[in-house]
C-alpha cells in the first residue's frame, strides 16, 4: 500500500515533462498538490481553478478528470530510481554442487519444518524435522555446497533451533554469512562461537596476534580453539601473553580451551593457575592437572589419597580400609580441594572424594599388590565407605579416560542396576561408557538392554555412536518387540523409538518389516495397542528407508 508513496517520494519521481494533453483539460495545468488540497477540503469550500482561469461549472467532475489525467500521466512517466550502494558480492564457494535428488530432499525437509504441524499425534509417517541434523552432517562430511535458494530457509531453521546452528551454518558457507549480514533476523550467524563458522585463519601469526589482542570474546575463544587444534603449544603461548590481564570469567573459558590437546607441556602453566584469584579457575586448573597422571599435582594428590585408602591387613581376607582426612589443610586447598561441602554431606567424605577423584588410578594397582582394576573394585570396603570410594573412582576414570577402570566400575551389564558394587546411577554409567571404545560401548549397552529391557536404556543409548552396531540395534528391536508383546502402549517407549528412528542402521529396515503388521489383539493387552505399535513400527521402517535414501542421494 504505502509503496504508492514511491510516486511522491524519491524512488520513482514523476516526470515533469507533461505531454500536450495539458491543453485539453482546464485543470490539467493545476499542480497535483493543489488538486489534493481541493479534494481533501471539498470543492464547495475550495473550488479547483487554474490561476487566472475560470472556476469550472462542475467542480467535482473537473477535479476527478484532472486527477485521473495526473495519475495516468504520472504512472506512464515513471523514472527509474537511483540505485543504492551495491553490496560486495558473496565470496566464492568452491564446494561442489549438491546432487539434484539431495537438493529436493533438503527442500522437502525444510518445507516440512516451516509448515504448521497438522496434528499432535505422530502417525506412521517419518518426522522429517528430526532428520535435518543428520542430513546436514552427511552433506557437510561429503563437502557439498548449499543451493543458493535454500540458504534462506536453512538460516530460518537454524534461527529457530540452536542445535542446528553449527551444521547449518557450516553448510550455508560463505553465502550464509553474506546473507546474515543483510538480514537482522539472521544476526545469530555472525556471532560465531556456536557456529564455528568463523574459524579464523591460524596460518598468519600476525593476524592471529591482532585478533587475540583486539577481537571480541567469542572471536577470541574461537581463535584459541582453532590454534589449539593445530598447535597446542602455540595456543598456550598465546594465552600466556595476556593471561594476567584477563577477566575471571574469560580466564575460566580460556582455561577450558586447554582441555583439547592437554599434555605435559601445560603442567607448568596449570600449576601457576592453581594460585589464581578466582576459585573456579583454580578448580578447573586442578581438574585439568588431575588428568595428567605424571604431573607433580597428581603425585601430591596420590600421596594424600593413599594415606586415606589402604589395604586392610587386619582381617582374614583382602579388603579396603578407609580413613577419611581429618582436615582440609592449606596444601589441599591450594591444590583445588574445596573445603566446604555442599549441604547434607559430611566434610570428611567430601574431602576424601576430591582426593581420590584427582589421584591417578594407576596408583591403586600399585597399592593393592598389582591387582587388576576389576579385582580392586570387587574388594570389600570397610565401614560403609564403598559408595563414596566407588563414586570417586568413577569420576577419576571418566576424567582420566581410563578404559580398564571404566570397564571394571561398570561391571557386568547383566548385573541388576541397583546391585553393589559399582556405580548405581545410570548417569554415571553413561559417563563411564563414553570412556570405552565405540564397539565395546555398543556391546555393553546391548547386553544391558537384553538383560533389563528398555526402561532405563534411554540415557545409555544416547552415548552410543550412530548408526548403532548390529548387536545393539537387534537388542533394541527385540526389546521393543518384547514390550509390545507385554501389552503396553508404544508411547511409553517414544523416547527410545525416536532414538531408534534416528540411530538404527538403515539396513535394518527389511528385517523390521515383519513388525509392521497389526497383530491380533491379545488377552490382557491394552485396547488398540497392537494398531499403535504397528503404526510406530511403520514409522520406524519408513524413517529408516528415508535415511537410506538420503544417504544414497548425497553421494
Amino acid at each position: 500500500m504505502n509503496a504508492l508513496n514511491a510516486t511522491e517520494g524519491d524512488p520513482m519521481p514523476p516526470t515533469t515533462t507533461g505531454p500536450t494533453t495539458a491543453s485539453v483539460h482546464p485543470l490539467a495545468a493545476l499542480p497535483w498538490e493543489e488538486l489534493v488540497t481541493s479534494a481533501l477540503l471539498g470543492t464547495d469550500r475550495r473550488p479547483p481553478a487554474a490561476p487566472g482561469g475560470p472556476v469550472p461549472a462542475d467542480g467535482p467532475a473537473a477535479l476527478l478528470d484532472a486527477a485521473a489525467l495526473h495519475t495516468v500521466r504520472r504512472r506512464a512517466g515513471l523514472l527509474p530510481a537511483v540505485p543504492g550502494a551495491r553490496p560486495a558480492p558473496a565470496p566464492h564457494d568452491p564446494r561442489p554442487q549438491l546432487p539434484e535428488a539431495a537438493r529436493h530432499r533438503l527442500a522437502q525437509l525444510l518445507a516440512d519444518r516451516a509448515a504448521p504441524a497438522a496434528s499432535g499425534r505422530r502417525g506412521a509417517a517419518p518426522d522429517l524435522t528430526e532428520l535435518i541434523p543428520q542430513w546436514l552432517a552427511t552433506a557437510n562430511r561429503r563437502g557439498f555446497r548449499a543451493p543458493a535458494d535454500l540458504v534462506p530457509p536453512l538460516l530460518d531453521a537454524a534461527r529457530a533451533r540452536t542445535d542446528l546452528r553449527p551444521q547449518a551454518l557450516a553448510f550455508a558457507g560463505p553465502l550464509g554469512l553474506w546473507l546474515a549480514a543483510l538480514n537482522p533476523e539472521w544476526k545469530f550467524a555472525l556471532r560465531g562461537g556456536a557456529g564455528g563458522s568463523l574459524v579464523p585463519d591460524t596460518g598468519d601469526p600476525e593476524a592471529v596476534g591482532r585478533l587475540w589482542e583486539e577481537g571480541l570474546f567469542a572471536e577470541r575463544v574461537a581463535l584459541l580453539d582453532a590454534v589449539r587444534t593445530r598447535d597446542p603449544a602455540a595456543a598456550l603461548a598465546l594465552l600466556t601473553t595476556t593471561w594476567s590481564t584477563e577477566r575471571a570469567e574469560d580466564r575460566l573459558m580460556f582455561l577450558d580451551s586447554l582441555r583439547n590437546g592437554l599434555g605435559a607441556e601445560d603442567e607448568e602453566f596449570l600449576e601457576q593457575a592453581l594460585a589464581d584469584r578466582s576459585r573456579n579457575v583454580r578448580a578447573t586448573a586442578a581438574e585439568l592437572l588431575s588428568a595428567l597422571p605424571a604431573s607433580a599435582f597428581a603425585g601430591r594428590m596420590a600421596a594424600r589419597a593413599t594415606s586415606c585408602v589402604n589395604p586392610d591387613r587386619t582381617g582374614a581376607g583382602a579388603s579396603i580400609a578407609v580413613e577419611a582426612p581429618h582436615e582440609c589443610d592449606a596444601g589441599m586447598r591450594r591444590d583445588g580441594v574445596v573445603a566446604d561441602p555442599p549441604t547434607g554431606r559430611g566434610e570428611r567424605s567430601w574431602w576424601l572424594g576430591q582426593l581420590v577423584e584427582a589421584t591417578p588410578l594407576g596408583v591403586w594397582q600399585e597399592r593393592f599388590g598389582g591387582r587388576p582394576a576389576a579385582e580392586i573394585v570387587a574388594l570389600p570396603v570397610a565401614d560403609d565407605w564403598a559408595g563414596e570410594l566407588h563414586a570417586a573412582w568413577c569420576r577419576a576414570a571418566v576424567r582420566q579416560r581410563h578404559p580398564e577402570w571404566a570397564r571394571a566400575l561398570l561391571g557386568e551389564p547383566s548385573a541388576p542396576p541397583a546391585g553393589a558394587p559399582g556405580p548405581t546411577s545410570i548417569a554415571e554409567r553413561s559417563k563411564l561408557l563414553a570412556v570405552l571404545s565405540e564397539a565395546e560401548r555398543a556391546d555393553w549397552v546391548a547386553a544391558f538392554i537384553a538383560a533389563h529391557g528398555l526402561s532405563e536404556a534411554f540415557q545409555l543409548l544416547g552415548v552410543c555412536t550412530v548408526p548403532w552396531s548390529g548387536p545393539l540395534g537387534r537388542a533394541v528391536v527385540d526389546a521393543l518387540d518384547i514390550a509390545r508383546d507385554g501389552g503396553s502402549y508404544p508411547w511409553s517407549f517414544s523416547g527410545v523409538m525416536g532414538l531408534a528412528e534416528r540411530c538404527l542402521d538403515p539396513a535394518e529396515a527389511d528385517r523390521l518389516e515383519v513388525l509392521t503388521a497389526t497383530p491380533d489383539e491379545q488377552e490382557g493387552a491394552s485396547p488398540g495397542a497392537g494398531g499403535y505399535w504397528s503404526e510406530a513400527f511403520q514409522r520406524l521402517v519408513s524413517t529408516l528407508r528415508l535415511r537410506a535414501a538420503m544417504e544414497a542421494e548425497l553421494t
Binding site: 481533501l40 467535482p60 495526473h70 504512472r75 518445507a111 516451516a114 543483510l182 528415508l546
Partner: protein, 480 residues
C-alpha cells in the same frame, strides 16, 4: 523399471508449486512415502494413479492426468489438488521406482477415458463453432442480445449512481471519507453488485480500505477516485471509443467476456503461479511465456468459497499448447488444446532459459506503453535482465548491473520469503528476474542465475557441466 520413460515426470519442486497452500504442501510431503500407497503406476499417456491408505477402511483412489493437468481423488477434501494427488506426484517425482510403469487400473482408466472424452468433445465443439458459426439460431441470438442490452442498462445506471457518489464525496471533501468509514463504501459496492458491475464493485471496495492505509492516504484515494471516475465516463461514452479500448472498459467494469481471438500455438514456459484470496473468491494467476512468439500471457482461474482454483501448472514446465486470447489487446488468455504431455525438464532437452528481458528503464517504458491501452493497469509483466538486488532505505531495489538505474521492490514483495531467495540467488551478482512492474514498484515472481559472476551459485546453470537435465530443472527459482 522400464529402460525408457516416454513421459517426463515433474520434479519435486514443480509438484510443490501446484500445492494450493503450505498445509497441503506439508501434508503431501507426508504422503510421499511408499508406505502409504498401493497399486501405483503411470503410463505413457501422462497418467499417474494409486491407492492411498486413509483413516477409513477403503483407500482413496487418486488419479492425475498430467496432460490436463487434471486430478481426481475419492477423498472429501476441498483442496485442489488434494494432498493425495500431491503425495502421489511427489512419490513419482522421487523416481525411486515405487511408481512403476503399467496399464491404468480399471477405476483409474474409467476416469481417464471419461475426462479425455470430455476434453475432446469440448475441443470438437469449439472447432465446430469456430469453423461453422453454426451455433445458436437467430432466435437464441436475439434473446442473448436482449439480455446483454438489459445488463448494459443496469450497469449504466450503476455507473451514474457511482458518479453521483464520487461527486458528493469530492464536494464535501475526502477528509469526510475518513470519518464515514468502511460502511459507506461497502454499501456502495453492494449497489454496484446489484447493478451487475462486479468490476466497479471491486474498485469501490478497495477505495474503502485506503483511508486506513497509513500516511499519504488522501493522495492515493484521489488517484483511485480519479481512475474510477475515468472508468465510469469511459463506460458511459464507450460507443465513441476504439474497439480494443471499449473491450478493455467492458472487462474492467466486469462484464462477462470470453476468449475469442484466434488460438496461438507455442511452447509456453510457466513463469509463475500464485493465488490472491479475496473474501469469497480465490483468483489464481498463471503467467506464461511463449518461447517462439515471445508473447507473455496470463491464465486466470477462480475458486469460489474456499476452494482452490482448478487450473494448476507447475512453474518451470514448458507446455506445447494453444492459447486463446481475450479481446481488448490485454494479456489474458484461455488454455486450449495441449499437444503433448507437459514436458518437464528431466529427459527432455528443453532449456529452461528465461525470457530475454531488458533493462529497468525498458521495463518502465513497457509499463507506460501498456497504460496507453489500459490506463487502469496497476502493473505489467516484465523480465529484468542482469539486475542486482540492492538494499535501499526501508527496502530493496533491483539495480541494473551496468548503469545507474534501479526499481524499488513493492512492499508486498518485501514481506515475502521470496525476497531472500532472490537475494541469495544473486549473492551480489546479476540475475534475471520475471515479475510485475507497476506504480507500487516491482514484484518479483521468478528468478534465474544468469550472470555467472555472483558468488552464490555461479557454476550451476546451463554451462553443460554435470548432468544436463538436473541443471535445467533448477533453472527458475520460484519467488512467490
Amino acid at each position: 523399471m522400464p529402460a525408457t520413460e516416454s513421459v517426463a515426470r515433474w520434479t519435486v519442486e514443480q509438484v510443490l508449486s501446484l500445492a494450493p497452500d503450505d498445509a497441503s504442501r506439508k501434508a503431501g510431503n507426508k504422503l510421499a512415502t511408499a508406505g502409504h500407497w498401493s497399486g501405483t503406476g503411470f503410463d505413457g499417456s501422462g497418467a499417474v494413479w494409486g491407492l492411498c491408505k486413509g483413516s477409513g477402511s477403503k483407500p482413496y483412489q487418486t488419479v492425475v492426468d498430467t496432460t490436463g493437468p487434471a486430478y481426481t481423488c475419492s477423498c472429501p477434501s476441498r483442496k485442489f489438488p488434494c494432498k493425495h494427488a500431491l503425495g502421489l506426484l511427489l512419490l513419482r517425482a522421487s523416481g525411486d521406482g515405487s511408481v512403476p510403469q503399467g496399464e491404468p487400473a480399471d477405476w483409474a482408466a474409467q476416469w481417464l477415458t471419461a475426462r479425455r472424452g470430455r476434453a475432446e468433445a469440448k475441443q470438437a465443439k469449439q472447432e465446430a463453432a469456430a469453423s461453422g458459426e453454426a451455433a445458436p439460431g437467430p432466435a437464441g441470438d436475439a434473446a442473448a442480445r436482449k439480455r446483454a442490452e438489459r445488463r448494459a442498462e443496469r450497469v449504466t445506471a450503476g455507473a451514474l449512481e457511482l458518479e453521483q457518489r464520487l461527486t458528493d464525496l469530492l464536494r464535501g471533501g475526502l477528509a469526510t471519507a475518513d470519518r464515514a468509514g468502511y460502511a459507506l463504501w461497502e454499501e456502495t459496492a453492494a449497489r454496484m453488485v446489484d447493478a451487475q458491475a462486479p468490476g466497479l464493485a471491486g474498485r469501490v471496495r478497495e477505495l474503502g480500505a485506503i483511508p486506513g492505509s497509513g500516511p499519504g492516504w488522501p493522495v492515493r484515494l484521489l488517484e483511485e477516485c480519479g481512475l474510477l471516475h475515468l472508468l465510469d465516463t469511459a463506460w458511459l461514452g464507450r460507443e465513441r471509443l476504439p474497439d480494443p479500448l471499449a473491450a478493455t472498459v467492458r472487462t474492467r467494469v466486469g462484464l462477462p467476456v470470453s476468449a475469442e481471438g484466434p488460438p496461438v500455438r507455442d511452447r509456453w514456459l510457466v513463469l509463475a503461479q500464485y493465488d490472491t484470496p479475496d473474501g469469497r473468491l480465490t483468483t489464481r494467476r498463471i503467467w506464461l511465456y511463449g518461447r517462439e512468439s515471445g508473447r507473455t500471457a496470463l491464465l486466470l482461474s477462480f475458486g469460489a468459497m474456499g476452494r482452490a482454483p482448478e487450473l494448476a501448472l507447475p512453474v518451470g514446465v514448458t507446455i506445447d499448447a494453444e492459447l486463446t486470447p481475450y479481446p481488448g489487446g490485454g494479456l489474458r488468455a484461455d488454455l486450449g488444446r495441449q499437444f503433448a504431455p507437459p514436458a518437464a525438464a528431466p529427459g527432455t532437452p528443453v532449456p529452461d532459459t528465461p525470457p530475454p528481458g531488458g533493462s529497468t528503464a525498458a521495463a518502465l517504458a513497457a509499463y507506460g506503453e501498456a497504460l496507453r491501452g489500459d490506463p487502469w493497469l496497476d502493473a505489467w509483466p516484465v523480465t529484468l535482465r542482469d539486475v542486482i538486488p540492492v538494499p535501499s532505505e526501508g527496502g530493496w531495489q533491483l539495480a541494473d548491473a551496468e548503469g545507474a538505474s534501479a526499481l524499488p521492490l513493492s512492499s508486498a514483495a518485501l514481506s515475502r520469503p521470496g525476497l531472500w531467495k532472490l537475494v541469495a540467488l544473486s549473492g551480489g551478482g546479476p540475475v534475471t528476474v520475471f515479475g510485475e512492474l507497476g506504480h507500487r514498484g516491482f514484484d518479483p515472481f521468478a528468478a534465474w542465475d544468469t550472470g555467472g559472476t555472483g558468488g552464490g551459485d555461479s557454476s550451476g546453470f546451463g554451462d553443460g557441466s554435470g548432468s544436463g537435465a538436473a541443471e535445467v530443472a533448477d533453472g527458475a527459482v520460484r519467488l512467490i
